[in-house]
């Protein structure tokens, strides 16, 4: 999983590299590419002829409702058929959606890495959290380089199997936090800098599914479920407006897909 994550992350790095001075541009570009990818997957994995036929049928029944609006029996019958044909259309859409969904999830995971959390700011405290697989290690400690002050002892929440610390980075850079537990050391990157700095990985995790969702760092081995830094949220601005990256992604990718469906001769 780590090598898959690594490869996919590198691919994304390459995609957004031209936009390193305009991060919002990278988000827009990836959204358009995602829209095209979704369109192509839809085209390849769906029954295009059946979808076209279903849409024509829906149009025909709608037309019947308008033409025979004085005839209640025809209108009711057409409404029933519109409903039934719509369900048929949804059935045809299920298969391509099943193929599209994993791709979208993977794209979103990569986007979250770049547009979700913002780096910690020098001088501002963040919370670091360790979640254990088994029982909480009550003696777990956190160490850091001199550029990062660990300001509190571990706050232990036994029933959550969790230990938390407050750390305060003193200057910009990427630093290694080291969790010491039961004779082992686990590292976690702490990214500190201006809000526009690239990839920020909140969590280092164990478990296949968790690794897929958190591809930024090498997986953890057993005993430890996750080490997480509670970074502040990144402020993404599109045309001067603050918009959550998920909204931007969905709007732009859908608009791109619908705008380009003629170009790619795809029935949606």
């Amino acid at each position: 999983m780590w090598y898959f994550n690594l490869a996919f992350t590198r691919l994304f790095d390459a995609l957004v590299w031209p936009f390193r001075v305009w991060p919002a541009g990278g988000l827009l570009f990836v959204s358009v590419v995602a829209g095209v990818a979704m369109l192509l997957i839809f085209k390849v994995t769906s029954n295009q002829r059946a979808i076209r036929r279903t849409r024509d049928l829906i149009r025909a029944h709608m037309l019947a409702m308008r033409l025979f609006r004085d005839d209640a029996a025809v209108v009711v019958e057409s409404q029933k058929k519109v409903l039934r044909t719509n369900l048929t259309y949804l059935r045809y859409a299920v298969v391509p959606i099943v193929f599209i969904l994993p791709v979208v999830v993977l794209i979103m995971v990569q986007l979250n890495l770049r547009y979700g959390p913002a780096p910690a700011r020098p001088g501002e405290a963040v919370v670091v959290k360790a979640v254990f697989e088994g029982a909480l290690d009550e003696g777990a400690t956190l160490a850091a380089s001199p550029e990062v002050a660990v300001e509190t002892p571990a706050l232990r929440i036994p029933y959550e199997r969790e230990a938390d610390w407050r750390v305060r980075p003193l200057e910009a850079g990427t630093f290694e936090l080291v969790l010491k537990s039961r004779g082992k050391d686990w590292g976690k990157k702490l990214v500190v800098g201006p809000p526009a700095v690239g990839r920020v990985s909140s969590r280092r995790v164990s478990g296949v599914w968790a690794q897929l969702m958190n591809p930024g760092e090498r997986p953890l081995s057993s005993n430890l479920k996750a080490i997480e830094v509670k970074y502040p949220s990144r402020e993404n601005k599109i045309l001067g407006l603050r918009v959550h990256w998920i909204i931007t992604f969905f709007v732009v990718s859908l608009v791109a897909a619908f705008a380009l469906k003629g170009v790619f001769r795809t029935e949606v």
Binding site: E124, A125, V127, P153, L155, I157, Y159, D164
Partner: protein, 660 residues
């Protein structure tokens, strides 16, 4: 709703939900003014007392002031009648008295409904709404209005293209829509619409927890070293009956260590015992994802065990995302915050109520006051760096609030004086005066030969040894009759008055009104009898002596018809109480309560004050130019500043330029 609640929630909280439309209006007025090559700088230090300045300068702790005094003017500055901050700063802003600006006291009453309200600003929820089940959809915006009337001198400056920066001037909320950089000061509410309501979470609530004013005590029970509780936000006008919006806090305590974690809405902060957090944004959902109100809080972990005590500051309007208009242009508050860091936006940020209710100890209160001072100094640096032309005004509340609370620690005659208090507590007032010396040094760096520089305060200070309840006195002397005398102990805010037999009543900190026919809804004093009744009352009050000390309580009782001139004069209370040094109105009198005793010793830690006879609490005036006026007053400053820019003061300004 109890009448006291009406005062606590002025409706501002409700307007938070729907006032989003106001800020853009200010934007339209913002712009750039032409450069002048002339500067007037005003450092406004609320409550700086001339005698204390002399004392602390003589002790050597204020070298910059000492040097400044040696070569420049330093004299007492006449204050307002009454010497209350909202009145005094309104005098300063308008260049006129309360007869023009209409602010007579902290508390006014609506003569139609006889309901009290805070005099500086008023907020009203949307007037047109549609109900959908329990959801209320506003069709119009809420309104928040500054109740001060009359001219505003920086409006005149802006009209004449003089650039201006006015940071935190009191009595300027919402800020006057003007082409200048302004941030509102005293009068700016917290997000609940109050002047500041802290939250105190503890498993050991004090016995008087239900009687907290300016704060809320929330009893908690820890289960497996954790608890959940709500933080109260603004009134939610999107819901029927506008219940307060709530935000759920979850707090975890370490099983053995003195450290705790507070989490809310995806955010979290860890604190050790005795630590303050920075500012944290809190978001109250009003209508699901469609509408919310944003504020910010600081946490203070007072104790972890054996008892858990967590203080949460009043939810301040976040300058980075203001829920109400607090600056012009609307982005200016954020611009300052981005460079200087977030800062308290509520009018008076020092949490004096937390100290009064023993939620803070003295050192804890001073630590919070130090945070306020540090923030304000950062804003001073930031706004000064941005200023090089035109008019500049910067306001400090530290001296005022801390003298109110800490005078008793330096005055051996005070009944609350503790000889064993630590030196930093005994020296607190002096410490904040010294801090102003630092502020002066920073400001002087911007003062050059084309600058007219003033340091002013709105009033001085006096000890507050004993309190006087004018309403009990009026009741005992037959001027007030209660509708139900058996409910005397429960009476508050004019709710148990027999208006058919009441001639006069006290409201606010210095005001006595006659129950005037034609003005009060059930007035019985004929207008032609008013002057004689006012004179009789004034004479009797002036003659009153404290039964325990034998001293006169009131030096002078002012008849407003002799003192106020202007379009608002008819709304004034008939009498303004001028207390002797050492006395002030009792808090319960301001709330129109009727305890048995007229005079008693002051027991609250708010134990110094200035709401007394104005000549006894004059402010300070320092100026780098010769002052020609023999007895300059606050209201003279506006015409003086306008004259420095070669501008004619508006007709309503009754003050006169003071410089030679």
């Amino acid at each position: 709703m109890k009448r006291r609640d009406f005062l606590k929630v002025t409706g501002t909280g409700a307007a938070v939900a729907a006032a989003g439309g106001v800020a853009p209006l200010l934007e339209a007025c913002a712009g750039k003014a032409r450069p002048l090559g002339r500067k007037v700088v005003v450092l406004a230090i609320d409550g700086m007392d001339p005698e204390l300045v002399r004392r602390f300068v003589a002790r050597g702790g204020m070298p910059t002031f000492k040097k400044f005094i040696e070569g420049n003017a330093f004299m007492p500055l006449g204050t307002s009648l009454p010497p209350q901050s909202p009145v005094a700063w309104s005098d300063f802003i308008t260049g006129a008295g309360p007869g023009v600006h209409g602010i007579f006291d902290f508390i006014h009453r609506d003569p139609e409904t006889m309901l009290p309200y805070l005099s500086i600003s008023r907020s009203t929820p949307p007037s047109k709404t549609v109900k959908l089940g329990r959801l209320v959809i506003p069709l119009t915006g809420g309104k928040v209005e500054n109740l001060r009337r009359g001219p505003c001198f920086w409006e005149v400056l802006a009209r004449n293209d003089v650039p201006a920066v006015v940071f935190k001037c009191p009595s300027n909320f919402p800020p006057v829509k003007v082409r200048a950089k302004t941030v509102s000061g005293l009068g700016t509410p917290d997000i609940r619409g109050t002047y500041g309501t802290f939250s105190y979470y503890t498993d050991d609530p004090p016995a008087d927890a239900d009687e907290f004013t300016g704060g809320e005590c929330i009893p908690i029970r820890l289960w497996e070293e954790a608890f959940t509780a709500d933080l109260t936000g603004p009134a939610n006008t999107f819901r029927e009956n506008s219940p307060p919006a709530k935000l759920r806090l979850t707090v975890y305590r370490d099983p053995t260590r003195d450290v705790a974690k507070i989490t809310w809405g995806g955010d979290e902060v860890i604190l050790k015992k005795g630590e303050w957090s920075g500012w944290h944004r809190v978001r109250f959902k009003l209508a699901g994802p469609l509408a919310d109100a944003v504020g910010m809080v600081r946490f203070y972990l007072k104790e972890v065990r054996p008892h858990f005590r967590l203080y949460v500051s009043p939810v301040n309007i976040d300058p980075l995302e203001p829920a109400l208009p607090i600056s012009t242009p609307s982005k200016y508050a954020a611009q300052v915050a981005r460079r200087a860091g977030r800062y308290y936006t509520q009018g008076f940020p020092e949490d004096t109520k937390a100290l009064s209710h023993d939620v803070f100890g003295e050192e804890e209160y001073l630590a919070q006051a130090e945070i306020v001072l540090r923030e304000r100094l950062a804003c001073l640096d930031e706004t000064l760096a941005d200023f090089d032309d035109g008019f500049y005004y910067f306001y400090f509340s530290s001296i005022d609030q801390n003298t109110h609370m800490m005078w008793r620690t330096m005055d051996p005659k005070h009944p609350l004086y503790r000889p064993d208090a630590p030196p930093e507590v005994k020296g607190a007032v002096e410490h904040f005066y010294r801090a102003m010396d630092g502020a002066l040094a920073r400001t002087l760096a911007k003062v050059d030969d084309r600058t007219t520089f003033f340091i002013i305060s709105d009033h001085g200070f006096a000890p507050f040894y004993r309190e006087f309840n004018v309403n009990t006195w009026l009741l005992d002397n037959g001027y007030i009759a209660l509708a139900d005398p058996f409910r005397r102990a429960e009476t508050e805010f004019l709710d148990n008055i027999d208006w058919g037999r009441t001639l006069a009543y006290g409201l606010g900190l210095n005001s006595v009104y006659l129950n005037l026919r034609g003005r009060e809804p059930r007035g019985i004093v004929e207008p032609e009898e008013a002057a004689a009744l006012a004179a009789k009352l004034a004479a009797e009050l002036e003659a009153y002596r404290d039964p325990e000390t034998g001293k006169r309580v009131l030096v002078k009782v002012y008849k407003s018809r002799d003192c106020y001139r202007g379009p608002a004069a008819a709304e004034a209370p008939e009498l303004v109480l001028g207390f002797a040094r050492g006395y002030r109105l009792a808090d319960d009198s301001a709330a129109v309560e009727f305890p048995k005793r007229i005079c008693k010793v002051r027991e609250d830690k708010w134990a110094a004050d200035h709401c007394i006879d104005p000549p006894h609490v004059r402010g300070v005036l320092f100026c780098n130019k010769p002052v020609a006026a023999k007895a300059p007053a606050l209201k003279d400053l506006a015409p003086t500043i306008l004259k420095e820019f070669g501008l004619e003061p508006p007709r309503e300004m009754t003050g006169r330029p003071i410089l030679a």
